[in-house]
């Protein structure tokens, strides 16, 4: 299943292509239902801006007060829209 969100501004990029320190919002997660559900439960939704703290293996995100670690494989399936403020 994929979580798709209309992209009003900016071009979606894979999370793996994002620079460390950038904030962004979720555009699409090309993962199975279980993984998408878990990401959503951890706070990763298109409403919530998050920051890329570390790239590579693992990829680490700060979503609100939650720090999430993702394997590179998962990160490569997540597409985000960089925050226009710091884009």
């Amino acid at each position: 299943m994929a979580l798709a969100v209309p992209c009003a501004a900016g071009t979606p990029v894979a999370l793996t292509a994002l620079r460390v320190g950038r904030t962004c919002r979720l555009h699409e997660a090309r993962l199975d239902d279980e993984a998408v559900g878990l990401l959503r439960a951890l706070g990763l939704s298109h409403h919530e801006a998050f920051r890329l703290c570390k790239a590579g293996e693992p990829c680490i995100l700060q979503v609100g007060g939650t720090r999430i670690g993702l394997s590179r494989k998962v990160a490569s399936c997540i597409f985000v829209i960089p925050d226009p403020v710091d884009a």
């Binding site: 279980e34 993984a35 959503r40 293996e57 693992p58 007060g65 939650t66 999430i68 394997s71």
Partner: protein, 675 residues
């Protein structure tokens, strides 16, 4: 008093009855503790009940449903500690358990205490919203207020309570702050429930979508939180620096190896003395029984079967308790979630998840706690694969066998013996990884689940929680040891002890000689010892186990084994280390290691050839590296995997691999002229 109720790890089904505590009657209510992982839920449970449960920083570790009781002035309360979940709608084992329990609770008019992280209100309120939409009577515990205060987060609890339509209690569960207020809130809400006072109209409709609830949660959080000037950047920088170091491909691996090396060094160091103490205690007990009971079947059954069987299992208890104590400390620090990523890079290639590193490493000490610690692994497929391959890791019980066989193989090569010794460990680990790959591509098809983990904040570990965890796991292990394992031990003893065999003529002659009045006491004692060894050897040879050794010898003939070695394999099915003592008995040698090796080296087959040629010893060594020679492990596999079929598969597969590898070793060496 706490009661630990098992949830079938394999299926996630709570063993019948679904909830272990009876529905509330007059003066008696039931409370369910619910919350996200890492919010201090189990710490709160321990404070409320004085009971014992596990608190974890590693998502998904709560796989047992714990119940405790709380006495309030006017009523008694049963408290159930539910698994930590992020979202009640997820299709995970934990979410399913909580969904079922909450359904029961709603129908029975029970209370739910939702414990939430005050420093992460937006995300935690989603779960609160889901429970409110389901019309559950709630008390909300705003935990970790100290962390929120440090981050300059001020929460208006009155407004929050009004927005939720439920009482809100601020607390710092780790320090016991707010427990009194919570007890009062439970008392009030329980009374409201018993008086059938209606719940305030739910703030969310029953069919509210996840998106609706998320938006509501964020809006509520924004309306009640006042964020001061952020002074937490120092803490964030520390966390980010630590994360970069601990998950670095090189530095992270080095730290991981140092931490695990330290853990196992401490484990062996700490467990050694209590293990000796247990050994000595059971030996004394056995001596007492031998002293007071007349010789005969009952005495033998008690000393060698029951006491010997219990001792052989309970002796592992210190290792299990210390291991879980140390793992709990590590979990509390927040390190294990980072380490899982370090190992995931390697283990993923073999169809194993990063979480599997703790069980696999633990299995080097003993497969029993190793298999028990697979509860750390959230996915069932991943857990089953890890359970099946964990016993390939060379455990401490294999060490005496490795020492004996490598000493026989390389008696004159002091450098090669330790190399072969290390090779045994590598062979075991290699077999585990390749087997995991095989299982992942056949009966347990699929790749390990890609890692998505919450990385908990770094913190000072709780000694109290670690002690309680060690106690819980120790008791859980003893429950298994006290039933299946002891019964199996008694059967194996009986096979080795019956039928009784008449003492051989040589032993009778030695005893007669020892009884002669002219002989010195020391010399007499030595003769008696020699006579006892001969009698034990004759008993082994004539026992059912010995008879079976003869019977199965043709099966092991292609591996180069005679009936004595076959009997050794058979008796060591109980536990690997029994092989050394069986060979010592058959060789008629002393009990100390050097005496055993010297004695075994001189053992002869019926045709006069040595029992242990280089090819035979190498074949036996390979067999013992790979074979499943441990009944307690099978009993634990059956319980943790959720069925006898997994234990039988493990036994059949490992025995097959061991046989095949030992066969190839023996025949290859013979082809190269080494016999």
């Amino acid at each position: 008093m706490a009661d630990v109720r098992a949830i079938e790890p394999a299926t996630g089904q709570v063993k019948s009855p679904a909830l272990p505590v009876a529905l509330p009657t007059s003066g008696h209510v039931r409370v369910l503790l619910v919350g996200n992982p890492n919010t201090g839920k189990t710490t709160l449970f321990n404070h409320l009940c004085g009971a014992r449960a596990k608190t974890s920083n590693f998502p998904g570790t709560t796989t047992a449903l714990r119940t405790g009781s709380l006495r309030l002035p006017h009523l008694s309360v049963d408290v159930l500690d539910m698994p930590g979940i992020y979202d009640i709608g997820l299709q995970t084992v934990e979410a399913r358990i909580v969904r079922n329990a909450m359904g029961d609770a709603r129908r029975a008019g029970d209370l739910a205490i939702v414990i939430i992280d005050a420093a992460n209100l937006g995300r935690n309120l989603v779960l609160v919203g889901q429970l409110l939409a389901a019309n559950t009577r709630l008390i909300v515990c705003l935990n970790m207020m100290d962390v929120a205060t440090r981050r300059r987060i001020a929460i208006n609890t009155d407004t929050l309570s009004a927005r939720l339509g439920a009482p809100v209690v601020s607390m710092v569960a780790a320090r016991g702050i707010g427990i009194g207020a919570l007890r009062q809130a439970i008392d009030d809400e329980a009374r409201a429930s018993r008086e059938d006072r209606p719940l305030p109209a739910s703030v969310l409709p029953a069919d509210a979508s996840h998106q609706t609830i998320s938006i509501w949660a964020r809006e509520v959080a924004t309306s009640v939180v006042q964020q001061g000037a952020d002074t937490g950047s120092g803490g964030r920088e520390f966390t980010e620096r630590m994360d970069r170091l601990l998950t670095h491909p090189v530095i992270g691996l080095a730290v991981f190896m140092a931490v695990m090396g330290g853990l196992f060094w401490a484990l062996f160091g700490l467990a050694d003395m209590p293990m000796r103490l247990i050994d000595a205690t059971f030996a004394s007990l056995s001596g007492l029984v031998s002293h007071y009971l007349p010789a005969g079947a009952i005495r033998d059954l008690l000393t060698d079967g029951v006491i010997g069987g219990i001792a052989g299992t309970v002796v592992f208890l210190p290792q299990i308790c210390f291991l879980f104590f140390l793992i709990s400390l590590l979990e509390d620090t927040g390190y294990l979630a980072r380490a899982a990523f370090v190992m995931d890079r390697f283990l993923h290639r073999f169809g194993l998840p990063g979480h599997a590193f703790v069980p696999l490493l633990t299995s080097h000490a003993c497969a029993l706690p190793g298999i028990m610690s697979t509860r750390l692994i959230p996915d069932r497929r991943d857990r089953l694969v890890t359970i099946l391959v964990a016993p390939f890791m060379s455990c401490s019980a294999r060490l005496p066998v490795f020492v004996m066989l490598t000493s026989l193989l390389f008696a004159d090569h002091p450098i090669l013996a330790p190399v072969a010794f290390a090779g045994c460990f590598m062979l075991g680990a290699g077999a585990a990884f390749l087997s995991a790959l095989l299982f992942s591509n056949t009966i347990l098809k699929g790749r390990s689940r890609p890692m998505i983990l919450e990385l908990p904040a770094y913190q000072v570990p709780s000694l109290r929680n670690a002690l309680l965890t060690a106690r819980d796991q120790g008791l859980s292990f003893l429950q298994t040891a006290g039933t299946v394992i002891m019964a199996i031990c008694v059967v194996m003893w009986w096979l080795s002890a019956y039928p009784k065999v008449a003492p051989p003529a040589e032993a009778v002659a030695l005893r007669t000689q020892a009884a002669a009045p002219a002989i010195a006491p020391d010399e007499s004692a030595a003769l008696v010892v020699r006579a006892e060894r001969l009698e034990a050897r004759a008993q082994q040879a004539g026992s059912l186990a010995g008879w079976m050794g003869h019977a199965i010898q043709p099966v092991f003939a292609p591996l180069g084994y005679d009936w004595q070695l076959s009997a050794g394999l058979l008796t060591s099915f109980l536990a690997r280390e029994v092989f050394v003592s069986t060979m010592a008995v058959l060789a008629g040698s002393g009990d100390d290691q050097n005496g055993v090796i010297a004695g075994v080296r001189t053992m002869r087959r019926e045709d006069g050839r040595p029992v242990f040629t280089p090819a035979t010893a190498a074949s036996a060594l390979v067999f013992f590296v790979l074979a499943m020679q441990c009944l307690p492990t099978l009993a634990v596999t059956r319980r943790e995997a959720g069925g006898l079929k997994w234990a039988l598969l493990q036994l059949g597969y490992m025995s097959g691999v061991a046989y095949l590898a030992a066969f190839v070793t023996f025949q290859s060496l013979r082809m190269w002229g080494i016999s």
